[in-house]
Amino acid sequence: MTITYPDSTSDRTGGAGSVRAPLLDISNLAVRFETPDRDVWAVNGIDLEVGAGEVLALVGESGSGKSVSMLSVMGLVPTPPAVVSGSIRFDGQELSGLSKREFSAIRGGDIGMVFQDPMSSLNPVHPVGKQIAEAFRLHRDTNRKEAMKRAVDLLDRVGIPNAQRRARDYPHEFSGGMRQRAMIAMALVCDPKLLIADEPTTALDVTVQRQIVSLVEELKDELGMAVVWITHDLGVVAELADRVVVMYGGRVMETGDSTDVYAAASHPYTAGLLRSIPSLDTPTDAQLPEIPGTPAPILEQLVGCPFHARCPMTEGDCTGSLPDLEPVGGSGHASACLHVSSMGSAEDLWPMDVTELTESGSTSETVVTISDLKVHFPSRRKSRKNRHSYVRAVDGVDLEIKHGQTLGVVGESGCGKSTLGRALVGLVEPVAPAIQLRGEPLDTSRGLHRQKIQMIFQDPFSSMNPGMRVADIISEPMRIHGIGSAEDRLDTSLKLLAQVGLPDDAATRHPHEFSGGQRQRIAIARALAADPEVIVCDEPVSALDVSVQAQIINLLRETQDERGIALIFIAHDLAVVRHISDEIAVMYLGQVVERAKRDLIYDDPLHPYTKALLAAVPDPDPSGRGALAPPLVGDLPDPADPPAGCRFNTRCPVAVPGLCDVEVPQLREIESRRWVSCHLVDGPGGQVSEPQAGSEAWSSVSLSEPKQQNNEREEDE
């Protein structure tokens, strides 16, 4: 079965395309990993084409086979243990069965690849420029000097300031965003026809993610290359992709032009993903629709639809026959579902739970008061100016957290939000006592306040002792604080397990037997065990598969509703906190720059930084293209040496020289329970007063990287 894709170059890429043979043509690709314990069927017969100059988004969760199939194209899947079959044709050449040497000629030459984690994907012992030059020298007959010049040119092109000098730096001297730019430079050094980007922005901040997406968009037009963008997040690529392929369980579930797939998802899985991802538009008063269960590895040959166990439309035949892609509608839109014709609207299939949360447990009683919280760490970096420099991780924060309510804390990595959370549970010591629990100074000694404030960590894989059984993990807080007898504690643990939706027999198992989502449920149970008043959630869903995030967010909301717990929900992404928060504090370089009721923050953000964060949220709606503001420029300044005046002035598009870089703005309460620290905000309903007003100013200001900016502008208009 093959679907012929009509030329899908949209009007947007304008002119880049005409009718052409596919550049990459994968047919019936299957990859199986054989290990002594078990076989994992990672890719189970997929067909996929990428045209020259086309941008294909390959979307799926962990274990969907999206990365493995693209690594097979690169010959980077280790055989053994992998067994690869099927045909991969690139630019008219059959790649399967090539020798190692022949593959080396194509890798990095005509196909460039960018990987997920820029922190670990560059060799720490070689300078960045040398690593890029190496890629050039491997494929071109050139000398060291010319290769270095080429590397510097490319570093400059991908937006590294002072490229000549920075090329001599080592990777650890680059920020995350800069490293990913360097990775892109390395992939592009030989003018590839195809760029494979494997989750290139997943490890980055949303603001930096926007920069990288824009950069790739610009470069592919300039170089006329095709791009396969692998991602788990439908939102990221909505504005970039011409065509989307959705994978699950090593099969293609749905494919089509991105406008068709986003607007009229024809597969229950795609529809579910689109519905369950928290976005800026989903209503906040109802529960998010959940896709039940978790993605599981396929351990034997597929005989039915891999999604059947989690699908609301499953019927008897779904387990017995493997659905192939069948066209739905025109222009190459196809879906692999036996019951595609009977699928109703996505809203009916994945309904929102309309039973509104009562918030009965919520009172206006203040549980935690934070006043002028400062947490400073001795700086490891040398500073000539002052001998004792400090990283001001949190630098003067005032907040209150109310009973049964959720405070969302948002900002880029390095803004101090996690340190704030740690200070609350006593993991780090503030400069001076600044936290009060119900009017008493916070005492983190055992048995006192530490019991009342619990924490849920980001990574459910490393935040649990692998040697302990689940029941012991959950009951440990009770044991530490001397609550109940051993039987009581076991009893409570079992009750908590049921409450977070895990079976009784989970109690005697070890953490490694659970998926990420299940472990995060265990973490919630552990946090509840000591019967706390406050739970600090530090990015509790960002390490989870997208289809599981909604489950955890809903569980946290329900728990809060039942017990009246105050939550501090820390996240880097405004879309995630929106669904659960009552109030939101936006942090930048250790300080709160804006704080208000949730709806005010989203409907009427005042601080330029809040606006920038909102603009950076990926929107899974390609029709919204062009309306987006330009990405925030540059990286977070060094927290050990924050800029003078307003800390945001170096990246602010509306900063007024002589004011913003001189005077420190105060966090002012401009109306009841609405604070902002910006010189340019007047008052209630007031907008940025100078130089122009509001959002228009935001999208038409001139940013400091002119080259990138110009291209950006053309795209936008």
Binding site: M113, N123, P124, L138
Partner: protein, 323 residues
């Protein structure tokens, strides 16, 4: 970097100070007469007058703090006192013995490092293949050999049966050789002890290198190197080996210090006149002052080896400069 380097240097000075202080305190707090331990004499054979004179001479009657500073002064001026057995200044004896130990341990270190690193890298390249497994098994058996047994085996083969190499000493006694002939004589005597030490330290270097290489092979940046089209060999020697060297250097530093002490057995087996043999002689002759001086020298060797590793480490791994 420089400021932090000074801090690191300060740590070494501190450790040295602690070692010297312990060396000062030990004979004074150990049971028995400290006179025997410090002056190295048999107290029982002396008259009370002689004893009093000696106590006055070594200063045991002065306040402890004064003795402590006196001790520091003598250490820093290289004065370790006199040997009880030979009545010669200990500094002279050590100056005579130390070069021989440095010769064989230094040579063994260099050779075992080169061989261990190369073979370890090769093994990692052929990981899981027959050659790798053979080497791995061989190295593990080699590591379990007792050092004296290996030394005696080598003597019985190369000195006794084949008669190729001398079995004891560092030079041929009373041979009056000069120039190249003397160098040849020294080398001839050093071969067997060096080979023994080398063979014993290769497995450790090999295992460290092989393991470090395998660790690095799993890193993301190795996938990056492959993705840019680097051949397997280039990946291994351009990207893996350099990263794998850092743990090997640490291992070598520890190994060097260890072989100083380990030389006791080897030098005894080969009657080689180095520091190890000196310790053996001092122990069997209850020559406490010599033992103490030798221990201090070993302490210094450990510190120097670590300092050396500290200096090399940032060159191998630029990330560690920031720490």
């Amino acid at each position: 970097m420089r400021r932090l380097g000074l801090r690191r240097l300060g740590q070494y000075v501190l450790v040295f100070g602690v070692a010297v202080t312990l060396n000062f305190l030990l004979p004074r707090i150990m049971p028995g007469n400290p006179l025997a331990l410090i002056a190295g004499v048999d107290v029982g054979l002396m008259t009370p007058d002689e004893r009093a004179e000696l106590i006055e001479q070594v200063g045991l009657n002065r306040p402890l703090i004064v003795q402590y500073f006196e001790y520091w002064k003598s250490i820093l001026t290289g004065d370790f006192g006199f040997s009880y057995r030979s009545s010669r200044p200990i500094s002279e004896i050590i100056a005579e013995r130390l070069p021989w130990t440095l010769l064989i341990t230094g040579a063994a270190l260099v050779v075992s490092a080169v061989v261990g690193i190369i073979v370890g890298a090769f093994s990692a390249w052929r990981r899981g293949k027959k050659s790798d497994l053979t080497l791995l098994t061989g190295m593990i058996s080699l590591e379990s050999l007792p050092s004296f047994w290996l030394g005696m085996l080598l003597i019985s083969i190369f000195s006794v049966q084949l008669g190729w190499l001398p079995s004891f000493g560092a030079v041929t006694p009373a041979s009056d050789l000069t120039g190249w002939a003397q160098v040849g004589d020294v080398v001839e005597h050093a071969v067997l002890p060096t080979v023994t030490l080398t063979v014993l330290s290769i497995p450790g270097v090999y295992l460290t290198m092989r393991y470090a290489m395998l660790e690095v092979l799993g890193e993301d940046f190795i996938r990056t190197a492959r993705a840019k089209g680097a051949s397997e060999r280039r990946v291994l020697f351009g990207h893996v080996a350099r990263n794998a060297m850092a743990p090997v250097v640490t291992f070598l530093a520890i190994r060097f210090a260890f072989s100083f002490g380990g030389a006791v057995i080897i030098e005894t087996v080969f009657s080689y006149p180095g520091l190890g043999r000196l310790i053996f002689e001092a122990v069997s002759g209850r020559d406490y002052p010599v033992m103490q001086a030798a221990f201090l020298v070993i302490t210094i060797a450990v510190l120097v080896a670590n300092l050396f590793a500290d200096i090399i480490y940032p060159i191998l791994d630029p990330r560690s400069q920031e720490e």
